[in-house]
Amino acid sequence: MKGIRSLAVCSAVLLSACTSTGVNNTAGRATVYEDVRTSSPIVQGVGIESQDIVAMTDRMMRDMLSNQLLAGRTPAPRVIVDSQYFTNESSSRINKNMITDRLRIELQRAAQGRMVFIGREYSGMVEAERELKRTGVTDAGTIRSTRATAGADFRLVGRITSADAVDSSSATASRYQQISFEMIDLEYGTIVWSGLYEFKKTAQDDIIYR
């Protein structure tokens, strides 16, 4: 008898509890800094995320610096590292400059003069300033005057590609992402260095979204 009564009461309590199981997030959440080298615990997808960019550029930088054809020359070779010839053929929308900017900056910091970097994407700005100096609108500056701007020895090229797979029965989506980096000899056309970064991510959304 008591059992039935308890069951009924418990059921009623359980039932009322069920109506308020939503997470109380009305208070919001204060801003927190997250480690760019680790996956966010809050939101994850199958695209390229911060930890992928950091890991791939770190690895490519180390690899390039250990290559004697690139980093062991005297005088130091001039290289262009920008996104001009870095193409995105994948299904991930990305600002390619995030990859090439980090790679160039980290390379420059670690190379310690073993490579000289050319800002070719700013050549218009440089030419405009040179014109002002040479026409006498401004003085010649304090460093030096050169007959021409620097020509480059090598240029970074690369490609982002992906292969996606969806298992429609379980709605599991997976993306294999491959990012290739190559350094091209701008006189001879040969590839003096290559690097590849690849990863695969798989995720399954909640059944209510399949």
């Binding site: 997808g45 994948s90 929308r93 399949r210």
Partner: protein
């Protein structure tokens, strides 16, 4: 985190908001004023309106914010678990849209990328959109979103990636045999939308079944443009209603069906036990202490009735209301004129004069052009 980013993104255009047209201002306001689980729906609708009104910056921000949620994976989410439970409608979940709606969000994102001359990211958007369609239950309709297939191929075409373009165009022909592929010198894409969004309706017992119906009150079926003294017909490449309605059953439908069965079972249990309890209430004084048993039975019956009344099994019929019914495309070499007259034709081929409009071709620094137009304003929508 992306939810907070979305909130930030909404805060950014605040300074611009003062100058927004009233309809757009209202649509943007609705994002924060409406229930949080409608945020993505309101973002998509406001973004479409912003795009229609030519405010591409705001449209881009809103589509980005919506896509951040659409592409995030809801795993072990309390909120998603709640939507699965017996006590909430499916509509209690955060709106991420059905596959056709998610695919269209990527379509518009890609369109904005094309306008910006960023064809690589446009291609990435179209590819992602196509993947959303891979979730269809009906195998023959899986990843058959010809519009996105075409746009992916077109992006590769103007980027000079011949191999990638050919591969996709070839696949497109299996879905749209006879489609006239772009020629090597084609640099202009004309894309025109007609009709109104497919509607979602609740059907079945207590509204547990989701059904689709075409948009109402429009009659434009075909598109023709006039440029440089020539009249050119566009090819209808995609029916959004077809994409919506050909998906087949959803996994969530089984859950809703189960909820309906639970409701029916508890209803009959409740009726049976209530009958016993009614007798028990009358008899309990006569049976003294034994009457307590019957009181317990009455309580169980009450719980069952309560459970029955609280079970929610209604399908989520929220829909992106300013999508089109069809999308029509045409590619061509860049014409001399940048002004194009767009005409809309009804099923009999007669021009609907009140819809005729003039649109402008936008050309990027690399000489690639886009002309996008829609027959109706993004405020001309059907209500559920």
């Amino acid at each position: 985190m992306r939810r907070y980013l979305s909130a930030l993104l909404l805060a950014v255009p605040a300074a611009v908001m003062a100058s927004l047209p009233p309809s757009l201002d209202q649509a943007v306001q609705r994002i924060s004023a409406d229930d949080a689980n409608n945020r993505v729906l309101n973002q998509l609708q406001a973004a479409t309106l912003a795009l229609d009104l030519g405010n591409r910056e705001l449209a881009g921000e809103l589509f980005d914010a919506a896509l951040a949620t659409i592409t995030s994976v809801y795993a072990d989410s309390e909120q998603a678990a709640r939507a699965r439970s017996l006590w909430y409608d499916e509509g209690a979940k955060d709106f991420k849209g059905e596959p056709y709606e998610r695919a269209m969000a990527f379509y518009y994102r890609g369109l904005l990328d094309m306008y910006a001359g960023d064809y690589e990211n446009a291609r990435a958007s179209f590819k992602s959109g196509l993947l959303q369609d891979a979730f269809a239950e009906e195998e023959q309709h899986r990843a058959d979103f010809a519009l996105l297939m075409f746009l992916e191929a077109w992006s590769s075409h103007v980027l000079g990636a011949r191999g990638l373009a050919d591969e996709r165009f070839e696949e497109l022909l299996t879905f749209r045999p006879g489609f006239r592929l772009p020629e090597a010198n084609h640099r202009l894409l004309v894309m025109v939308e007609t009709g109104k969004a497919p509607r979602k309706l609740q059907d079945g017992i207590g509204g547990n079944v989701l059904v689709y119906r075409p948009g109402r009150r429009f009659r434009e079926e075909a598109v023709r443009i006039r440029v440089d003294g020539k009249a050119l017909d566009l090819t209808p490449i995609e029916s959004i209603f077809w994409q919506a309605s050909s998906r087949g059953g959803r996994p969530i439908d089984s859950i809703l069906e189960g909820q309906v069965q639970f409701k029916q079972t508890t209803q009959s249990v409740s009726a049976d036990v209530s009958g016993v309890a009614a007798h028990a209430t009358m008899l309990s004084p006569a049976f003294g202490a034994a009457g307590g048993v019957f009181a317990g039975v009455a309580a169980v019956a009450g719980v069952a009735t309560l459970a029955t009344s609280r079970v929610k099994a209604r399908a989520d019929h929220r829909f992106w209301n300013n999508l089109p019914d069809k999308v029509h495309v045409l590619t061509m070499p860049m014409p001399a004129s940048r002004e194009v007259q767009v005409e809309f034709l009804d099923a009999s081929g007669a021009v609907i004069n009140e819809l005729t409009q003039t649109a402008r071709i936008e050309v990027d620094a690399a000489g690639r052009g886009v002309l996008w137009a829609r027959a109706r304003r993004a405020t001309d929508v059907d209500r559920p």
